[in-house]
Amino acid sequence: MPLIRAFLAIIRRDLLLAFRRRAEMANPLFFFVLVVTLFPLAIGAQPNLLQAMAPGVIWVSALLATLLSLDSLFRSDFEDGSLEQMLLSPHALSVLVLGKIVAHWLVSGLPLLLVAPLLALFLGLPEQAMGTLWLTLILATPLLSLIGAIGVALTVGLRRGGMLLSLLVLPLYVPVLIFASGAVDRAAGGLPVGAQLNILLAMLLAALALAPLPTSIALKMSVN
Protein backbone atom coordinates (compact mmCIF):
# COMPACT_ATOMS: atom_id res chain seq x y z
CA MET A 1 0.00 0.00 0.00
CA PRO A 2 1.62 3.26 -1.13
CA LEU A 3 -0.27 5.24 1.52
CA ILE A 4 1.06 3.11 4.36
CA ARG A 5 4.53 3.30 2.82
CA ALA A 6 4.30 7.10 2.77
CA PHE A 7 3.04 7.10 6.38
CA LEU A 8 5.96 4.95 7.52
CA ALA A 9 8.42 6.96 5.42
CA ILE A 10 7.36 10.15 7.23
CA ILE A 11 7.83 8.53 10.63
CA ARG A 12 11.20 7.14 9.60
CA ARG A 13 12.40 10.42 8.20
CA ASP A 14 11.34 12.41 11.27
CA LEU A 15 13.00 9.94 13.63
CA LEU A 16 16.16 10.11 11.56
CA LEU A 17 16.03 13.90 11.64
CA ALA A 18 15.48 13.85 15.39
CA PHE A 19 18.49 11.59 15.75
CA ARG A 20 20.65 13.94 13.66
CA ARG A 21 19.51 16.92 15.73
CA ARG A 22 19.51 15.08 19.02
CA ALA A 23 20.86 17.98 21.11
CA GLU A 24 17.93 20.13 20.05
CA MET A 25 15.43 17.35 20.49
CA ALA A 26 16.59 16.52 24.02
CA ASN A 27 15.76 20.04 25.24
CA PRO A 28 12.14 19.33 26.29
CA LEU A 29 13.19 16.18 28.15
CA PHE A 30 15.96 18.12 29.87
CA PHE A 31 13.43 20.79 30.82
CA PHE A 32 11.10 18.14 32.26
CA VAL A 33 13.82 16.57 34.41
CA LEU A 34 15.09 19.97 35.51
CA VAL A 35 11.72 21.33 36.66
CA VAL A 36 10.80 18.19 38.57
CA THR A 37 14.18 17.97 40.30
CA LEU A 38 14.14 21.67 41.25
CA PHE A 39 10.90 21.33 43.19
CA PRO A 40 12.32 19.38 46.15
CA LEU A 41 15.18 21.88 46.36
CA ALA A 42 12.82 24.83 46.49
CA ILE A 43 10.30 23.31 48.87
CA GLY A 44 12.82 21.90 51.30
CA ALA A 45 12.70 18.83 53.50
CA GLN A 46 8.96 18.30 53.62
CA PRO A 47 8.42 14.78 52.30
CA ASN A 48 4.67 14.80 52.93
CA LEU A 49 4.10 18.01 51.01
CA LEU A 50 6.24 16.75 48.14
CA GLN A 51 4.36 13.48 48.07
CA ALA A 52 1.05 15.29 47.94
CA MET A 53 2.28 17.57 45.14
CA ALA A 54 3.99 14.86 43.09
CA PRO A 55 1.16 14.09 40.60
CA GLY A 56 0.59 17.77 39.91
CA VAL A 57 4.28 18.61 39.57
CA ILE A 58 4.97 15.74 37.20
CA TRP A 59 1.95 16.45 35.06
CA VAL A 60 2.46 20.22 34.84
CA SER A 61 6.11 19.68 33.86
CA ALA A 62 5.19 17.04 31.28
CA LEU A 63 2.61 19.37 29.79
CA LEU A 64 5.00 22.32 29.59
CA ALA A 65 7.74 20.12 28.15
CA THR A 66 5.35 18.99 25.41
CA LEU A 67 4.35 22.59 24.74
CA LEU A 68 8.03 23.45 24.40
CA SER A 69 8.56 20.69 21.84
CA LEU A 70 5.48 21.51 19.75
CA ASP A 71 6.99 24.24 17.62
CA SER A 72 9.47 21.82 16.05
CA LEU A 73 6.59 19.75 14.69
CA PHE A 74 6.13 21.71 11.45
CA ARG A 75 8.56 24.66 11.73
CA SER A 76 11.55 23.28 9.84
CA ASP A 77 9.33 21.63 7.22
CA PHE A 78 7.63 24.97 6.69
CA GLU A 79 10.90 26.83 6.31
CA ASP A 80 12.70 24.50 3.92
CA GLY A 81 9.76 23.80 1.61
CA SER A 82 9.27 20.17 2.66
CA LEU A 83 5.80 21.05 3.88
CA GLU A 84 4.82 22.28 0.39
CA GLN A 85 6.01 18.99 -1.08
CA MET A 86 3.98 17.12 1.52
CA LEU A 87 0.86 19.13 0.62
CA LEU A 88 1.40 18.34 -3.05
CA SER A 89 1.73 14.62 -2.44
CA PRO A 90 -1.08 12.58 -4.01
CA HIS A 91 -1.58 10.77 -0.70
CA ALA A 92 -4.18 11.80 1.86
CA LEU A 93 -2.68 14.71 3.76
CA SER A 94 -4.31 13.85 7.07
CA VAL A 95 -2.60 10.45 7.07
CA LEU A 96 0.77 12.08 6.39
CA VAL A 97 0.06 14.57 9.17
CA LEU A 98 -0.78 11.71 11.51
CA GLY A 99 2.61 10.24 10.63
CA LYS A 100 4.29 13.45 11.68
CA ILE A 101 2.33 13.50 14.94
CA VAL A 102 3.27 9.89 15.71
CA ALA A 103 6.93 10.70 15.08
CA HIS A 104 6.63 13.77 17.31
CA TRP A 105 5.20 11.62 20.10
CA LEU A 106 7.94 9.03 19.71
CA VAL A 107 10.55 11.76 20.02
CA SER A 108 9.01 13.96 22.71
CA GLY A 109 6.33 11.94 24.51
CA LEU A 110 7.95 8.54 24.82
CA PRO A 111 11.08 9.78 26.64
CA LEU A 112 8.85 11.54 29.19
CA LEU A 113 7.10 8.23 29.71
CA LEU A 114 10.40 6.52 30.39
CA VAL A 115 11.87 8.99 32.87
CA ALA A 116 8.64 9.90 34.70
CA PRO A 117 8.58 6.86 37.03
CA LEU A 118 12.11 7.64 38.16
CA LEU A 119 11.19 11.25 38.89
CA ALA A 120 8.02 10.12 40.66
CA LEU A 121 10.21 8.00 42.92
CA PHE A 122 12.27 11.14 43.60
CA LEU A 123 9.21 12.97 44.81
CA GLY A 124 8.09 10.03 46.91
CA LEU A 125 4.95 9.17 44.98
CA PRO A 126 3.41 6.08 46.66
CA GLU A 127 4.10 2.85 44.87
CA GLN A 128 0.44 2.04 44.27
CA ALA A 129 0.15 5.18 42.10
CA MET A 130 3.05 4.30 39.76
CA GLY A 131 0.95 2.14 37.48
CA THR A 132 -1.67 4.86 37.16
CA LEU A 133 0.98 7.51 36.47
CA TRP A 134 2.26 5.36 33.63
CA LEU A 135 -1.19 4.72 32.25
CA THR A 136 -2.10 8.42 32.31
CA LEU A 137 1.16 9.26 30.54
CA ILE A 138 0.58 6.57 27.91
CA LEU A 139 -2.92 7.84 27.25
CA ALA A 140 -2.37 11.56 27.58
CA THR A 141 1.03 12.37 26.01
CA PRO A 142 -0.15 11.31 22.52
CA LEU A 143 -3.26 13.36 23.21
CA LEU A 144 -1.09 16.40 23.91
CA SER A 145 0.77 15.89 20.61
CA LEU A 146 -2.49 15.51 18.67
CA ILE A 147 -4.14 18.60 20.15
CA GLY A 148 -0.92 20.58 19.87
CA ALA A 149 -0.58 19.75 16.17
CA ILE A 150 -3.74 21.74 15.38
CA GLY A 151 -2.33 24.76 17.19
CA VAL A 152 1.07 24.51 15.52
CA ALA A 153 -0.48 24.11 12.09
CA LEU A 154 -2.45 27.30 12.64
CA THR A 155 0.52 29.34 13.83
CA VAL A 156 3.40 27.95 11.76
CA GLY A 157 3.03 30.68 9.14
CA LEU A 158 3.33 33.45 11.71
CA ARG A 159 6.69 34.92 12.54
CA ARG A 160 6.15 35.01 16.28
CA GLY A 161 3.52 32.38 16.79
CA GLY A 162 4.89 31.10 20.11
CA MET A 163 2.68 33.14 22.41
CA LEU A 164 -0.39 32.59 20.27
CA LEU A 165 0.31 28.86 20.21
CA SER A 166 0.26 28.67 24.02
CA LEU A 167 -2.96 30.68 24.13
CA LEU A 168 -4.61 28.41 21.58
CA VAL A 169 -3.44 25.12 22.97
CA LEU A 170 -3.40 25.58 26.77
CA PRO A 171 -7.18 25.77 27.23
CA LEU A 172 -7.46 22.44 25.41
CA TYR A 173 -4.70 20.98 27.54
CA VAL A 174 -6.42 21.89 30.81
CA PRO A 175 -8.98 19.02 30.80
CA VAL A 176 -6.18 16.57 30.05
CA LEU A 177 -4.19 17.96 32.97
CA ILE A 178 -7.17 17.79 35.34
CA PHE A 179 -8.10 14.20 34.55
CA ALA A 180 -4.54 12.91 34.36
CA SER A 181 -3.18 14.43 37.57
CA GLY A 182 -6.55 13.75 39.26
CA ALA A 183 -6.25 10.07 38.44
CA VAL A 184 -2.70 9.85 39.83
CA ASP A 185 -3.79 11.74 42.94
CA ARG A 186 -6.68 9.36 43.55
CA ALA A 187 -4.48 6.33 42.95
CA ALA A 188 -2.02 7.66 45.54
CA GLY A 189 -4.92 7.83 48.00
CA GLY A 190 -5.98 4.28 47.15
CA LEU A 191 -9.19 5.31 45.33
CA PRO A 192 -10.49 3.81 42.06
CA VAL A 193 -9.38 5.65 38.91
CA GLY A 194 -11.40 3.85 36.22
CA ALA A 195 -13.53 6.87 35.36
CA GLN A 196 -10.58 9.23 34.79
CA LEU A 197 -8.68 6.70 32.70
CA ASN A 198 -11.77 5.99 30.60
CA ILE A 199 -12.26 9.68 29.94
CA LEU A 200 -8.61 10.05 28.93
CA LEU A 201 -8.94 7.04 26.63
CA ALA A 202 -12.09 8.49 25.09
CA MET A 203 -10.37 11.83 24.54
CA LEU A 204 -7.38 10.09 22.94
CA LEU A 205 -9.56 8.10 20.54
CA ALA A 206 -11.59 11.17 19.65
CA ALA A 207 -8.42 13.19 19.03
CA LEU A 208 -6.91 10.40 16.91
CA ALA A 209 -9.95 10.49 14.68
CA LEU A 210 -10.62 14.21 14.72
CA ALA A 211 -7.27 16.04 15.01
CA PRO A 212 -5.44 15.12 11.75
CA LEU A 213 -8.10 16.61 9.46
CA PRO A 214 -8.24 20.13 10.97
CA THR A 215 -4.44 20.03 11.23
CA SER A 216 -4.09 19.37 7.51
CA ILE A 217 -6.62 22.08 6.66
CA ALA A 218 -4.79 24.53 8.93
CA LEU A 219 -1.48 23.64 7.25
CA LYS A 220 -2.97 24.41 3.84
CA MET A 221 -4.13 27.77 5.20
CA SER A 222 -0.71 28.52 6.67
CA VAL A 223 1.04 27.80 3.37
CA ASN A 224 -1.49 29.84 1.39
Binding site: R20, D80, G81, E84
Partner: protein
Protein backbone atom coordinates in the same frame (compact mmCIF):
# COMPACT_ATOMS: atom_id res chain seq x y z
CA UNK B 1 0.28 7.71 -17.93
CA UNK B 2 -2.33 6.77 -20.52
CA UNK B 3 -3.53 10.33 -21.01
CA UNK B 4 -0.07 11.81 -21.31
CA UNK B 5 -0.21 12.27 -25.05
CA UNK B 6 -3.19 14.58 -24.97
CA UNK B 7 -2.82 16.18 -21.57
CA UNK B 8 -3.90 19.79 -21.60
CA UNK B 9 -3.84 22.53 -19.03
CA UNK B 10 -6.33 25.34 -19.43
CA UNK B 11 -6.60 28.39 -17.25
CA UNK B 12 -9.77 30.43 -17.45
CA UNK B 13 -10.36 33.93 -16.10
CA UNK B 14 -7.81 33.61 -13.35
CA UNK B 15 -7.35 36.62 -11.14
CA UNK B 16 -5.55 37.24 -7.93
CA UNK B 17 -5.23 40.06 -5.42
CA UNK B 18 -2.48 40.40 -2.92
CA UNK B 19 -2.83 42.90 -0.09
CA UNK B 20 -5.60 44.75 -1.96
CA UNK B 21 -3.37 45.02 -5.02
CA UNK B 22 -4.46 43.42 -8.25
CA UNK B 23 -1.72 41.10 -9.49
CA UNK B 24 -3.51 39.84 -12.58
CA UNK B 25 -7.06 39.43 -13.74
CA UNK B 26 -8.90 37.57 -16.47
CA UNK B 27 -5.81 35.57 -17.26
CA UNK B 28 -6.42 32.90 -19.89
CA UNK B 29 -3.96 30.46 -21.35
CA UNK B 30 -3.58 26.90 -22.52
CA UNK B 31 -0.64 24.55 -22.44
CA UNK B 32 -0.65 21.27 -24.32
CA UNK B 33 1.48 18.18 -24.00
CA UNK B 34 4.83 18.89 -25.62
CA UNK B 35 4.60 22.59 -24.89
CA UNK B 36 6.13 24.80 -22.28
CA UNK B 37 5.11 28.15 -20.91
CA UNK B 38 7.49 30.82 -19.73
CA UNK B 39 6.11 33.47 -17.39
CA UNK B 40 7.84 36.78 -17.67
CA UNK B 41 7.49 39.98 -15.76
CA UNK B 42 9.23 42.27 -13.32
CA UNK B 43 9.86 41.33 -9.71
CA UNK B 44 6.63 41.39 -7.77
CA UNK B 45 4.45 41.04 -10.85
CA UNK B 46 2.93 37.84 -9.50
CA UNK B 47 4.86 35.11 -11.30
CA UNK B 48 5.48 33.04 -8.18
CA UNK B 49 1.92 33.66 -7.00
CA UNK B 50 0.58 32.37 -10.31
CA UNK B 51 2.73 29.26 -10.05
CA UNK B 52 1.55 28.64 -6.51
CA UNK B 53 -2.04 28.98 -7.66
CA UNK B 54 -1.36 26.46 -10.42
CA UNK B 55 0.02 24.10 -7.78
CA UNK B 56 -2.99 24.49 -5.56
CA UNK B 57 -0.84 25.89 -2.77
CA UNK B 58 -2.72 29.15 -2.99
CA UNK B 59 -6.31 29.88 -3.86
CA UNK B 60 -7.09 32.20 -6.74
CA UNK B 61 -9.64 34.95 -6.12
CA UNK B 62 -11.53 33.80 -9.18
CA UNK B 63 -11.06 31.58 -12.19
CA UNK B 64 -10.68 27.91 -12.95
CA UNK B 65 -7.90 25.48 -13.73
CA UNK B 66 -8.91 22.74 -16.16
CA UNK B 67 -6.80 19.63 -16.61
CA UNK B 68 -7.52 17.34 -19.59
CA UNK B 69 -10.96 18.86 -19.95
CA UNK B 70 -11.96 18.40 -16.33
CA UNK B 71 -11.81 20.80 -13.38
CA UNK B 72 -8.49 20.29 -11.58
CA UNK B 73 -10.12 19.02 -8.37
CA UNK B 74 -12.04 16.33 -10.23
CA UNK B 75 -9.09 15.07 -12.27
CA UNK B 76 -5.69 13.52 -11.67
CA UNK B 77 -4.17 16.99 -11.86
CA UNK B 78 -2.52 16.97 -8.45
CA UNK B 79 -1.02 13.56 -9.12
CA UNK B 80 0.27 14.56 -12.56
CA UNK B 81 1.94 17.76 -11.40
CA UNK B 82 5.25 18.40 -9.68
CA UNK B 83 6.52 21.66 -8.26
CA UNK B 84 9.99 22.95 -7.50
CA UNK B 85 9.85 26.30 -5.77
CA UNK B 86 12.25 28.77 -4.19
CA UNK B 87 12.66 26.53 -1.17
CA UNK B 88 14.38 23.32 -2.14
CA UNK B 89 12.12 21.04 -0.14
CA UNK B 90 15.07 18.93 0.93
CA UNK B 91 16.23 18.27 4.48
CA UNK B 92 19.75 19.51 5.01
CA UNK B 93 20.52 16.99 7.78
CA UNK B 94 19.63 14.04 5.55
CA UNK B 95 21.79 12.63 2.80
CA UNK B 96 21.02 13.00 -0.90
CA UNK B 97 19.81 9.41 -1.09
CA UNK B 98 17.60 9.69 2.01
CA UNK B 99 15.99 12.83 0.62
CA UNK B 100 15.21 11.22 -2.73
CA UNK B 101 13.91 8.04 -1.12
CA UNK B 102 11.54 10.12 0.95
CA UNK B 103 10.38 12.08 -2.09
CA UNK B 104 9.75 8.78 -3.84
CA UNK B 105 7.69 7.46 -0.91
CA UNK B 106 5.51 10.58 -1.03
CA UNK B 107 4.90 10.33 -4.75
CA UNK B 108 4.33 7.74 -7.42
CA UNK B 109 7.46 6.04 -8.85
CA UNK B 110 8.31 7.47 -12.24
CA UNK B 111 10.52 7.08 -15.27
CA UNK B 112 13.92 6.88 -13.62
CA UNK B 113 15.43 5.03 -10.70
CA UNK B 114 17.17 7.12 -8.06
CA UNK B 115 20.69 6.30 -9.26
CA UNK B 116 19.73 7.02 -12.87
CA UNK B 117 18.28 10.38 -11.84
CA UNK B 118 21.40 11.27 -9.84
CA UNK B 119 23.44 10.37 -12.89
CA UNK B 120 21.28 12.65 -15.03
CA UNK B 121 21.71 15.67 -12.76
CA UNK B 122 25.45 14.94 -12.37
CA UNK B 123 25.21 14.12 -8.69
CA UNK B 124 26.28 10.50 -8.96
CA UNK B 125 28.64 9.65 -6.14
CA UNK B 126 27.06 12.17 -3.78
CA UNK B 127 24.50 9.63 -2.48
CA UNK B 128 25.74 9.62 1.08
CA UNK B 129 26.62 13.29 1.41
CA UNK B 130 24.40 15.23 3.79
CA UNK B 131 22.61 17.95 1.83
CA UNK B 132 24.12 20.75 3.93
CA UNK B 133 27.55 19.87 2.51
CA UNK B 134 26.36 20.48 -1.07
CA UNK B 135 26.77 23.79 -2.86
CA UNK B 136 23.73 25.90 -3.75
CA UNK B 137 23.84 24.72 -7.35
CA UNK B 138 24.08 21.08 -6.34
CA UNK B 139 21.08 21.52 -4.02
CA UNK B 140 19.12 22.96 -6.92
CA UNK B 141 20.01 20.00 -9.12
CA UNK B 142 19.00 17.66 -6.30
CA UNK B 143 15.57 19.28 -6.03
CA UNK B 144 15.18 18.89 -9.79
CA UNK B 145 16.19 15.23 -9.56
CA UNK B 146 12.96 14.76 -7.61
CA UNK B 147 11.05 15.49 -10.82
CA UNK B 148 12.79 12.62 -12.58
CA UNK B 149 12.09 9.89 -10.04
CA UNK B 150 8.38 10.56 -9.59
CA UNK B 151 5.66 10.16 -12.17
CA UNK B 152 4.42 13.50 -13.44
CA UNK B 153 3.34 15.24 -16.61
CA UNK B 154 3.37 18.90 -15.70
CA UNK B 155 6.48 20.47 -14.21
CA UNK B 156 5.94 23.74 -12.42
CA UNK B 157 9.33 25.37 -11.89
CA UNK B 158 9.95 28.61 -10.09
CA UNK B 159 13.31 30.04 -11.17
CA UNK B 160 14.88 26.63 -11.82
CA UNK B 161 18.14 28.18 -13.00
CA UNK B 162 18.96 30.13 -9.84
CA UNK B 163 22.49 29.53 -8.57
CA UNK B 164 23.35 27.14 -11.39
CA UNK B 165 26.51 27.53 -13.44
CA UNK B 166 26.57 27.46 -17.26
CA UNK B 167 26.81 23.67 -17.47
CA UNK B 168 24.08 23.37 -14.85
CA UNK B 169 21.77 25.61 -16.85
CA UNK B 170 22.45 23.66 -20.03
CA UNK B 171 21.82 20.44 -18.13
CA UNK B 172 18.45 21.56 -16.76
CA UNK B 173 17.47 22.94 -20.17
CA UNK B 174 18.18 19.58 -21.72
CA UNK B 175 16.17 17.82 -19.00
CA UNK B 176 13.20 20.09 -19.65
CA UNK B 177 13.51 19.61 -23.41
CA UNK B 178 13.68 15.87 -22.89
CA UNK B 179 10.63 15.90 -20.64
CA UNK B 180 8.64 17.94 -23.12
CA UNK B 181 9.61 15.85 -26.11
CA UNK B 182 8.19 12.83 -24.26
CA UNK B 183 4.75 14.39 -24.00
CA UNK B 184 5.31 16.32 -20.81
CA UNK B 185 4.75 20.01 -20.22
CA UNK B 186 6.39 22.69 -18.16
CA UNK B 187 5.39 26.05 -16.74
CA UNK B 188 8.32 28.06 -15.53
CA UNK B 189 9.61 31.46 -14.58
CA UNK B 190 13.13 32.51 -15.29
CA UNK B 191 15.22 35.63 -15.55
CA UNK B 192 17.68 33.64 -17.54
CA UNK B 193 17.35 33.78 -21.31
CA UNK B 194 16.19 30.37 -22.42
CA UNK B 195 18.16 28.97 -25.31
CA UNK B 196 16.04 25.93 -25.90
CA UNK B 197 15.64 26.37 -29.63
CA UNK B 198 13.70 23.20 -30.26
CA UNK B 199 11.35 23.93 -27.43
CA UNK B 200 7.74 24.63 -28.20
CA UNK B 201 7.74 27.69 -25.98
CA UNK B 202 4.89 30.04 -25.17
CA UNK B 203 5.47 33.27 -23.33
CA UNK B 204 3.19 35.29 -21.09
CA UNK B 205 4.23 38.69 -19.89
CA UNK B 206 2.47 39.34 -16.62
CA UNK B 207 2.80 43.13 -16.61
CA UNK B 208 0.58 43.19 -19.67
CA UNK B 209 -2.34 41.76 -17.76
CA UNK B 210 -2.81 44.78 -15.53
Amino acid sequence: MENVQHATLEVRDLSCFRDERLLFSALNFEVEAGQSLLLEGANGSGKTTLLRILCGLREADSGRIIWCGQPAEASNYYRDMAYVGHADGTKKELTVLENLKFALALGVPGKYQIDQALDKVKLAGFDDNPVHTLSAGQKRRLSLARLLITQNVLWILDEPFTSLDKQGIALIESLITDHISHGGMAVLTSHHDLRMADLNLKRIHLQACH
